[in-house]
Subunit: 135 residues, 2 copies
């Protein structure tokens, strides 16, 4: 799997699912995951086969449920934009009425850093929940 | 089907699909469609059944293909946010490197009005393409 260097540098590997790699955004201001289909040269959902589109939806739902369970957000934001990084990637973000960007979308707003300990702890927490659902 | 008054006032009915109603955003700055599941009290994709989630993905792909065919965009942006209007609605937007918000997301950027003639012409064009694919 080719991974765009900007996606690689701005997020942390969590787990490989059936179609996507799940990663945690390095931006600690929001519980923010990325789903990146492990298929080269794909920039749009319509480049995926119909079965892969359905599997992608299953993985979006899986990650949404995990964010719901772990972080009890007020809203889940799901988006694929790709205007800056064309490689297909889907944002799944837990939002709160109390968060730093509410009610606006998160892009180009606040950026906070995780400590290395907090980053690894959150990755491990989400990884365990993915394993629980995914097996 | 209950339709939030803000969605109703900011967009125009195009067609009823299997799961969603397709509507055209009144913002003429972007070719911008909305898919709104015709199921009451749904604010998250994970509130839909798994079969309905797959049908929703099919309808997102259908609308994406139609935007691709008709408007030949540089990128398609797909998102469900719902921070302001909780009723589940999915944005499917044709984006250009030359558009007024590129490369940023479209929300809270430019708002242009259609003339009534242009609005109805665009609705009719998209409706015909939906009928072509959907039958």
């Amino acid at each position: 799997m080719h991974l765009d260097h900007r996606l690689n540098q701005s997020s942390e590997f969590i787990a490989d699912l059936t179609v996507c790699q799940a990663r945690l955004s390095h931006n600690a201001a929001f519980p923010w995951l990325l789903l990146i289909p492990k298929i080269d040269n794909v920039t749009e959902i319509i480049h995926l086969s119909s079965p892969d589109q359905h599997l992608l939806m299953d993985e979006i739902a899986l990650i949404s449920k995990i964010l719901q369970d772990l972080f009890i957000p007020d809203k889940i934001n799901i988006a694929t934009l790709g205007n800056v990084v064309p490689q297909l990637h889907i944002h799944v973000i837990a939002r709160y009425q109390s968060d730093a960007a509410w009610p606006n979308p998160v892009w180009n707003t606040v950026n906070q850093e995780y400590s290395e300990t907090d980053l690894q702890a959150r990755v491990e927490l989400i990884r365990q929940h993915i394993q629980f659902y995914f097996q």
